[in-house]
């Protein structure tokens, strides 16, 4: 057991978390009226602070902040869709002009089932890539509108 009175830090430690104290300190406090008084004072102090009224803003902070946040701008997707459509139309015309006769020859010799398979795969792949690209574009535009 410790014979000298405990230091202020030791008293505080015991008052707030007795389990964390060394057995020698605990033994001293159990036999020392002076240190017990000190412990009691700190325990009262801790309880007193805990029960103090909590500070709360006396104005509507959320409303004040929300009206300052950048709002997402309404965006029109039409121009970009027209542009993509236009480019695709031009590409189809150019391809038709350059390889039109070869394509007709290709379809004349290939079996209908094979043509169907190729067309289905091409349309499905194009649709999948197109949707994916469009979703990425939308997400990026949304992020850009905020910063």
């Amino acid at each position: 057991m410790k014979n000298k009175h405990l230091t202020d830090e030791e008293i505080q430690l015991y008052a707030l978390d007795a389990d964390a104290c060394a057995p020698a300190l605990v033994a001293h406090i159990q036999h020392c009226a002076h240190c017990q008084q000190e412990v009691l004072t700190y325990q009262l102090l801790a309880e007193g602070i805990k029960t103090q009224e909590k500070a709360v803003f006396d104005f509507d902070l959320a409303d004040l902040v929300m009206e300052q946040l950048p709002q997402p701008k309404p965006t029109s997707d039409r121009p970009i869709l027209y542009m993509i459509g236009g480019i695709m139309a031009v590409m189809i015309v150019v391809m038709g002009e350059l390889f039109g006769s070869s394509f007709i020859g290709l379809f004349a010799y290939a079996q209908p089932i094979l043509i169907g398979l190729v067309l289905t795969a091409t349309i499905a792949l194009t649709a999948f890539l197109g949707i994916d690209m469009y979703q990425k574009y939308k997400a990026q535009m949304k992020a850009l509108n905020y910063y």
């Binding site: 505080q12 103090q52 500070a55 104005f59 905020y146």
Partner: protein, 201 residues
């Protein structure tokens, strides 16, 4: 451990919603953290009109920096860190005193006075009048502490935050947090005893 993970999950969901453009989710974040931010701002800043500006500034900064939040701590702790440092920046700019400095002479003087008297609390601890009186005196004495001591005392005892969480908020080493808290409690205890004795006379 599970609680931290759950907090992070809900924090992540909220942050993702805000980053995805849902501003209402930010309102929810504010609602969840306004209590802590309020405690920090009120303890650090005395001027009411400055509190209003600083509180808004804290949340605007939070919104701007939200994409850099790494989920290494709770979202509330991270926002608490922004709140604490915004207030600290304000106090430094105004060149206000941040910490209580007690000289040895002052401390000895207080100890001398206290040594000659018996602890006045011991006899009337059970009385509710005593507790009300104690609470009122304590409120005044807490107000007299420096902004940093006031904030640390509030975070630890009222908000019941751990040393680790306070360390994240203040960016002070854990040893310093413990030492400041110990000094703040001692100051409070000594001043409380002196005031109580004066009033009892």
């Amino acid at each position: 451990m599970n609680t931290i993970r759950e907090n992070n999950v809900s924090d992540r969901a909220l942050v993702d919603r805000v980053l995805g453009g849902d501003t209402n989710a930010f309102r929810l974040i504010m609602k969840n953290t306004e209590g802590l931010v309020g405690q920090i701002v009120y303890k650090m800043i005395r001027n009411p009109s400055d509190r209003k500006d600083i509180a808004q500034d804290i949340y605007l900064k939070t919104f701007q920096k939200l994409d850099s939040f790494q989920f290494q701590a709770k979202l509330s702790t991270w926002i608490g860190q922004i709140a604490y440092h915004t207030c600290l920046g304000y106090l430094e700019k105004k060149k206000l005193v941040l910490l209580d400095s007690v000289t040895d002479e002052e401390e000895n003087e207080v100890l001398e006075k206290l040594n000659h008297t018996v602890n006045p609390f011991v006899n009337d601890i059970e009385s509710s009048l005593f507790k009300q009186e104690l609470s009122a005196i304590l409120k005044t004495e807490i107000e007299k502490l420096s902004p940093i001591f006031r904030t640390l005392i509030t975070l630890y005892h009222q908000e019941e935050m751990s040393y680790a969480e306070i360390t994240v908020i203040t960016q002070l080493p854990e040893g310093t947090v413990k030492s400041y808290l110990s000094r703040a409690r001692k100051l409070l205890k000594d001043n409380l005893l002196l005031t109580y004795q004066k009033e009892a006379l």
